[in-house]
């Protein structure tokens, strides 16, 4: 039977990995991801997860080890955060290019420098174009559910998936969530099918060799098609998920967007906060809306446009750096709207960097600033850094 539990984001992903029956795990601990891999290691030690844990000396080796294990045809897991993900960068491309359905838990942490232990999305945004699927959870239940969805979807299209949770605001935040029954998970996620191509010592072959210009483009093209296929696949698998577990998930989650004067668009844990702010503003007669982008890669352009097109204006909050240009989430939204030929005012805000609380007041400020800019018909080519303390500069 499903069970309600008090669980933090790190443990939620670890429970997802246990329920998914991952077979090989390699990881290197780094704040704020450490409890995630410790929990998985505990499960293996306690005999609750029948997996091989490979202890490694760096993140580069951690991902390399699971790439090897995935090439042998096993269900794998690794996890990291911040600079650890940056150290993996080379192998991030290898994992995706070899079409390996690895699942990686990410405890989002700001990249240095300046050094920070705390959240922003600069680590995963630096890897956004490497051909992985990227999911961003807004609470601990989604962290667990997205881990199961990650295995199922990643294995169908044979691509790796990052399940991203905000450092501390999700990794170390305890909430009430439903821990699904193993039998249900087994029904949703059958045993891993390694397909026809895998490394077999009895039948040796080479995988991942040097490629010529004759085929490189075509392999990338096929990779891109597989990634974009997720847009069609996600809703179908989410429907199956709902039938089994009773919870609805989507590529992007809209809240009161239809007739909104301003919709605030977010990734990660601030999405729930935005919904709460919108609820209060609506009660006070202000027509606000909120859109959570759950799947950032592939970017669900049609869904996002569909859910935003009734809005009079859009405020995109990037919880990552926008050095020299717009933030990455804003670039996606503006590009989608421009391509679709829809002209509504879209403003980009940068907030919540390096662990600064992206709180209700900041989100209210974003919404009020957007209303003001629209009223004055003021254009902005560059983002607005909404929560900068001028006195510190």
């Amino acid at each position: 039977m499903d069970k309600k539990v008090a669980i933090d984001g790190n443990s939620a992903i670890a429970e997802g990995v246990r329920l998914a029956r991952a077979q090989v795990v390699a990881a290197y601990p780094i704040t704020p991801q450490t409890p995630m891999v410790e929990r998985v290691a505990d499960f293996i030690d306690e005999g609750r997860l029948d997996a091989k844990y490979i202890a490694v000396e760096s993140e580069h080796s951690a991902l390399s080890a699971v790439v090897g294990a995935a090439l042998m045809g096993t269900r794998t897991f690794t996890a990291t955060a911040g600079a650890g993900l940056a150290l993996m960068h080379e192998i991030v491309g290898v994992a995706a290019g070899n079409r390996l359905p690895i699942v990686m838990g990410i405890a989002n942490r700001a990249l240095p420098s300046p050094w920070s232990l705390q959240v922003d999305h600069s680590d995963t945004m630096a890897e956004k174009d490497m051909g992985w699927i990227q999911l961003y959870a807004s609470n601990c239940q989604e962290a667990l559910d997205y881990t199961l969805l990650a295995y199922r979807i990643g294995e169908e299209v044979r691509l790796p998936v990052m399940v991203c949770i905000d450092g501390f605001f999700l990794t170390h935040t305890t909430e009430v969530a439903e821990l699904p029954d193993q039998e249900k998970v087994d029904r949703f996620l059958p045993a891993y099918d390694r397909g026809d191509v895998y490394l077999d010592p009895d039948n040796p072959m080479t995988i991942n060799q040097l490629n010529s210009a004759e085929t490189f483009t075509e392999l990338r093209y096929a990779h891109n098609q597989a990634l974009n296929e997720v847009i069609n696949l996600f809703p179908k698998i989410a429907e199956e998920f709902k039938d089994i577990f009773g919870r609805q998930h989507s590529l992007c989650r809209d809240f009161e967007c239809e007739d909104a004067d301003v919709v605030v668009v977010t990734l990660g844990s601030s999405s729930g906060t935005a919904r709460k702010v919108v609820q209060r503003m609506r009660a006070n007669g202000m027509k606000a809306g909120a859109l959570q982008v759950s799947c950032f890669r592939p970017f669900p352009k049609e869904d996002v446009i569909g859910k935003l097109k009734g809005a009079k204006s859009v405020a995109v909050i990037d919880r990552s750096w926008a050095l020299g240009t717009d933030g990455p989430l804003s670039q996606e939204i503006k590009s989608a709207f421009h391509s679709a030929g829809i002209d509504i005012p879209i403003y980009n805000f940068v907030a919540g960097l390096g662990g600064r609380d992206l709180n209700e007041k900041t989100i209210e400020n974003v919404i009020h600033s957007t209303v003001e800019l629209v009223e004055k018909d003021e254009k902005r080519l560059y983002p607005i850094w909404i929560d900068v303390k001028k006195e510190v500069i």
Binding site: L117, F168, T173, V176, G272, E360
Partner: protein, 184 residues
């Protein structure tokens, strides 16, 4: 119950993060929703620690710190000497739970309700030289009435394990009985 927000003021090593986790476990047992948000940094033993929690009948959407607490829990009134202000952000209906032998001067009038508990003495008496978090949970149950003491005791055992949990649950119960509530 509308959403209630907690700000827990403590020092590193006093077990406030575990206490907040136990609050969430007690909410699960009471068929409620809750959230514990630790404010982690480069923490060390003895340094002031802020921990936040939320409790509600409905799922909790906010993932932020607490700025306007309905309930302030002060694990150590000496924190005031370090400039930690229990009055920060409170409203007319805010409640205080404080660990001390007597009420610090002038604090009573700032809160709608104050629960005073000598958590150090009770913890020493029931368990020994361990953090006062179980006693503080008993005082929270008594002062706020938001969670019953039985749920708190069961949650303590679930989180701490049978052996350590039972004695801590007893400590929470004792604190529940000895908390003095000033109201009106």
């Amino acid at each position: 119950m509308t959403e209630k927000e907690f700000r827990i003021l403590s020092r590193g090593g006093q077990g406030a993060v575990t206490a907040a986790h136990i609050l969430v476990e007690a909410a699960v047992l009471s068929d409620k929703y809750a959230q514990a948000v630790p404010n982690f940094g480069q923490e060390r033993k003895g340094a002031p620690v802020y921990t936040f929690a939320r409790l509600s009948d409905k799922p909790i959407e906010s993932h932020t710190y607490v700025y306007n607490p309905d309930i302030v829990v002060m694990f150590d009134s000496f924190l005031m000497e370090l400039g930690i202000d229990p009055l920060e952000g409170i409203g007319e209906d805010s409640i205080l739970i404080i660990n001390d032998r007597e009420l610090p001067h002038g604090i009573r009038d700032s809160f709608k309700k104050v629960g005073l508990v000598d958590a150090w003495s009770i913890t020493h008496e029931v368990i020994g030289n361990v953090p006062p978090n179980a006693a503080m949970l008993g005082a929270i149950a008594k002062t706020t009435g938001l969670l019953d003491i039985e749920s708190i005791m069961e949650a303590i055992v679930n989180v701490m394990g049978e052996k350590i949990g039972q004695v801590n649950a007893k400590c929470a119960k004792t604190a529940y009985e000895r908390t003095v509530v000033y109201e009106g």
